[in-house]
Amino acid sequence: MAGTTRPEGALALGAGDRLTAREGLARQLDYWWTVHRRTWRGGVVSSFVAPLFYVVAMGVLLGGFVDAGPDRLEGATSYLAFVVPGLVAAHVMQVAVGETTYPVMGGIKWQKTYWAQVATPLSVRDVVNGQLAFAVSKVASASAVFLLVLAPFGVFGSWWGPLLAWLGLVLLGAAFAAGVMAFSVRVRNEQSFGLVHRLGVVPLTLFSGAFFPVANLGPVLEWVARATPLWHGVSLTRMLCLDVVDWPLALLHVLVLAAVAAVGWRLAVTGLERRMAV
């Protein structure tokens, strides 16, 4: 109890030791479980119900007016089959952004959970890993449910495609979570997040090939769209879901998303280290 010193070698780290990334995450499990317990209900609506409205409205109802064949829909036999991978990819981006904007500001400014965490053996790197792991777990569960619910609609070209697509979606979520967190740890107030939505999330959702093939944008804008991480995610998800895989292109998508995730993670760690070095 209070006052007794720790028995030799029990839990104290030795000089120069730091926690392994895995140990750092394991020690935060109980904390993130409490966060999950109090937020999952709200997440059900935004993660599962809202996207289904989109599928019905855009895929089924609006899609009923779209009369185009596989040659104009990147291999999809219906607009519904075309738009579903786009919708799930865009949704993954939104979940990832949602988990790494306000919650990150909360950790720094409002709840100050990060300050409590770095007073313990956890380091800033562990704090970033925890926040990102939680964001990615949300992305993983949201996209899994999304794909499962849509399976009976006959929009997938194979049984294994959506499984691989799911892994791609998790990677897409990691890329956005890390990249946006790198931004969030640097901004001073939450007004900047409005900018992320207006100049980031909305245009990306509309113009990154989720709702129509980017070839329709004209040559210049098409290449702009192809440079965005969301397009790589949409394209990867779509080719896997429709079973029209261009493997070299798929590999490129994976590499781009992995690079964005890695650079974003690095910048999130350095940014938060600087922010908390007061």
Binding site: M1, G3, T34
Partner: protein, 304 residues
């Protein structure tokens, strides 16, 4: 436990800590006394191995915070100035979650959390949300949280600032008990009574520098007289009368609302003042405190 040589901290052009030397030995209660902005909290954050050192040398438990941060933090308890309790969690979960950050096994954290709630008298509040606690309870919970890892060294940054007198006394009593249990305590405060009550040894800080060091009694002996006579002649009058009593004691301080006459015998000062035909509206003879030490060293009061 702590050894600092020429320790500095700067934020851009601003130097918060301007080269301080500090040694803290195992088992002692050590204080940083000074007004707001003296550099106490910046020093504490460096000692807590969360804020990088800008210059000089710092060793905590024999280790360098720049490379051994996690190892140092695994053996420290930190009670920050600003509460970093999680408002979304209840009282018990705040302790539990925090203990898990230290890698303490789940069952053990639960036991310790219960014991600590008992220690800080919050057992009945274990299911309460942090938001619903009073300021004193929050601070006690923060102290309980800082003890969940059974630290060898406990850092307390302004532990009783903002608390009412009763809550302060409850907290002091708990800190006493920790001290007697052998925990090394390092605290910052701008309350001289707190420093006098708790600290074996302290440094007085002002504008990022250490201006004096010693035990409370030592400091008072070296920098002040045994007693102080406080004389109130009414607003505006004090300045005018100051010159008439300049030589009745060893030293005179003129404050806006009163005159402080330093002497080893306060009653004698009063007698001399009356001899000169002066009748203050109110008088008080008291022992010198650390407040007087600070006034003597810097010409300013601790609490503005």
């Amino acid at each position: 436990m702590i050894s600092a040589r020429g320790l500095r901290k700067s934020f851009g052009d601003f130097e918060a800590v301007r080269g301080i030397d500090v040694e803290v030995a195992r088992g002692e209660t050590f204080g940083f006394l000074g007004p707001n902005g003296a550099g106490k909290s910046s020093t504490m954050r460096m000692v807590a191995a969360v804020s990088p050192v800008s210059g000089g040398e710092l060793r905590i438990l024999g280790m360098d915070p720049a490379v051994d941060g996690p190892a140092i933090r695994s053996r420290l308890g930190v009670c920050p100035q600003e509460d970093t309790l999680d408002n979304e969690l209840n009282v018990f979960d705040n302790l539990y979650v925090y203990g898990r950050y230290f890698g303490i096994p789940r069952a053990e954290v639960r036991d310790r959390a219960e014991q600590l709630l008992e220690f800080v008298q919050l057992t009945e509040k274990r299911r309460a949300r942090v938001e619903d606690l009073s300021g004193g309870m929050k601070r006690r919970l923060t102290i309980a949280r800082s003890l969940v890892s059974s630290p060898e060294l406990l850092l307390l940054d302004e532990p009783t600032t903002g608390l009412d007198p009763q809550a302060r006394h409850v907290l002091w009593e708990q800190l006493y008990r920790l001290k007697h249990a052998g925990v090394t305590l390092v605290l910052t405060t701008h309350y001289m009574d707190e420093a006098e009550q708790l600290c074996d040894r302290l440094v007085v800080m002002d504008k990022g520098r250490i201006v004096a060091e010693g035990s409370p009694q030592q400091l008072i002996r070296e920098h002040s007289t045994r007693e102080v006579a406080e004389l109130r002649f009414g607003i505006g009058e004090n300045e005018r009368i100051a010159e008439k009593v300049a030589d009745v004691g060893t030293r005179l301080e003129v404050l806006p609302d009163r005159l402080l006459v330093y002497s080893d015998d306060g009653e004698e000062v009063l007698a001399r003042v009356h001899e000169r035909g002066l009748t203050p509206q109110a008088v008080l003879v008291r022992r010198s405190t650390l407040e007087d030490v600070f006034l003597a060293l810097t010409g300013r009061s601790l609490v503005d």
